[in-house]
């Protein structure tokens, strides 16, 4: 049952990810990306991490993608507006992507043994109660650092978007 769901979700994830890249219309791309995010949240739910699944939907599908769609819709981009990029840029982009892909695959291959130990112990490690305790005890410094970083980004965004007062 779970295996069938996994294959369906994976097919949706990969299909929508490819369509995100292949769509000519930027808004269609964005909508495919939203579907892709949803199926990734489904993968999290299959791994029994409900918190991560919900937060993923709230942050990515709910906030980031809506703002992105918002911008694209208001800009009203057309295919004719697109700037043709030189071939060197395309090659560099492909190489960079392959490097990142290689890095991700190799780092995920490293984590496989660690995952095995988790499934064997059967300890509850992903409900919000446990996550909260871990975040505010063991990892309180990185957690607060991330909070300060986000706050700084927010203040910066407000500062940039604020209109400058005219000096009379």
């Amino acid at each position: 049952m779970i295996e069938i769901l996994f294959y369906i979700l994976s097919a949706v994830t990969l299909g929508s990810a490819f369509l995100t890249i292949l769509s000519k219309n930027p808004i269609h791309s964005a909508i495919w990306l939203v579907i892709c995010f949803f199926s990734i949240a489904g993968h999290y739910a299959l791994l029994n991490s409900q918190f991560l699944a919900m937060v993923h939907i709230i942050v990515y599908s709910g906030a980031i993608m809506i703002l992105m769609l918002f911008t694209i819709m208001l800009m009203n981009l057309n295919i004719s507006d697109e700037i043709a990029k030189p071939i060197v840029t395309k090659i560099i982009a492909t190489v960079c992507f392959c490097l990142i892909g290689f890095f991700l695959v190799s780092s995920l291959a490293q984590t496989a043994p660690a995952l095995e130990t988790y499934t064997q112990t059967g300890v509850d490690f992903q409900t919000i109660q446990v996550l909260g305790k871990v975040l505010l005890n063991e990892f309180v410094l990185p957690f607060e650092m991330a909070a300060i970083l986000l706050l700084m980004a927010m203040i910066g965004a407000v500062l940039i978007s604020k209109k400058e007062k005219k000096t009379a």
Binding site: I31, Q50, M54, V55, I58, G62, I66, M73, L74, I128
Partner: protein, 343 residues
């Protein structure tokens, strides 16, 4: 055992779906009747006794009307918009506890489709995604007024979601749980959250109005400025779906208000009723009480609609960002201090 759970949950899901639809249907009638009552008119009274069959007549009319298709290259998205709106409006009902347990044939039946421990986050996830229907529909209409309306809805909903989430945090701190079932159970007898969180209740109430696009926050539907709004190009049952989704969302948000702040299915004297009349009777009264509270909030929605005029857009943004969010943060701080002192 396994089959029993599947049957039980299917019955609950179908019942909740049917009740939501019925409420949304009769909300359209109630809205017109209440408007008529406030403006000293009679309201619809031709179809059936007292106009009781009016929603059916409206539905029939919507189905029978011509489906007009605007000149748009995005036919699929245009058709898909209303359906996203409708689905998202109905999805929240999955985690709402409609009552305490009922004992049927020696089995304890929990009156809730899914009791997940991140129910509150689920509600927010659905809320934040529900704007897609209007956004996609408004954009695919290929009409600049529809697009402006869709943009208004999106920015309004994003702004008010923040204050809404912050007002909920205080409740999560009080109950130390995200499960709606535990939040409901924690408000037994008269320990309703509204008495402990009056400020949070008001913030949540205002944000609920904004999230459902009801007056005074219905800037998405300005006849004077935008001809109609995001549904200008829609006709027939697709238009009906958008309107229906609005009423379904109103029902669900009334339910959330009742569950989070007005004690869900709890009522004073519930333990007494359980001791004297049996658990089942007490819990059935509880379901009736919950629906009574929901009806009260639906009435409040309509009452406000015919009382308060629309905001201007900058006033709406100022209220959301400069008043409600600071107040919600203040509410969290005060709650935290009180909880710490009472420990």
């Amino acid at each position: 055992m396994e089959e029993a759970i599947i049957i039980e949950k299917s019955v609950i899901i179908v019942a909740v779906f049917a009740i939501t639809m019925l409420f949304a249907m009769y909300c359209t009638l109630a809205e017109r009747k209440i408007a008529a009552w406030i403006q000293d008119r009679r309201g619809p009274n031709r179809a059936g006794p007292g106009g009781m069959l009016q929603p059916l007549a409206d539905g029939l009319k919507l189905f029978a009307k011509e489906e007009f298709m605007p000149n748009t290259p995005n036919t699929f998205l245009f058709v898909f918009g209303p359906f996203i709106s409708m689905t998202m409006a109905l999805m929240t009902s999955a985690v709402i506890p409609w009552g305490d347990t009922l004992e049927i044939g020696g089995r304890k039946v929990i009156l809730q489709a899914a009791d997940i421990n991140v129910a509150m986050l689920y509600v927010f996830a659905v809320l934040s995604v529900s704007v897609y229907g209007i956004m996609i529909g408004g954009w695919a209409s290929n009409n600049k007024y529809s697009l402006i309306s869709a943009m208004r809805v999106a920015s309004q909903m994003i702004s008010y979601e923040i204050a809404m989430g912050l007002s909920i945090v205080a409740i999560l701190m009080m109950h130390s749980s995200m499960s709606l079932r535990e939040i409901a159970a924690g408000q037994h007898e008269m320990h309703w959250n509204i008495f402990y969180q009056p400020l949070g209740f008001f913030i949540f109430l205002i944000c609920s109005f904004a999230e459902t696009n009801r007056t005074p926050f219905d800037l998405a539907e300005c006849e004077q400025e935008l001809i109609g709004g995001y549904h200008t190009e829609y006709s027939s049952m697709r238009m009906g779906f958008f309107l229906f989704a609005e009423y379904a969302a109103m029902f669900i948000s009334s339910t959330l208000l009742a569950v989070l702040y007005l004690g869900a299915y709890n009522y004073p004297g519930m333990t007494w009723a359980a001791e004297n009349w049996g658990e089942n009777t007490a819990n059935i009264i509880g379901i009736a009480v919950l629906f009574g509270k929901i009806c009260f909030f639906i009435f409040l929605y309509m009452w406000v609609r015919w009382t308060i005029p629309r905001f201007r857009y900058d006033q709406l943004m100022n209220l959301g960002w400069k008043t409600l969010i600071p107040l919600a943060i203040l509410n969290i701080v005060v709650t935290a201090v009180v909880l710490l002192l009472n420990r």
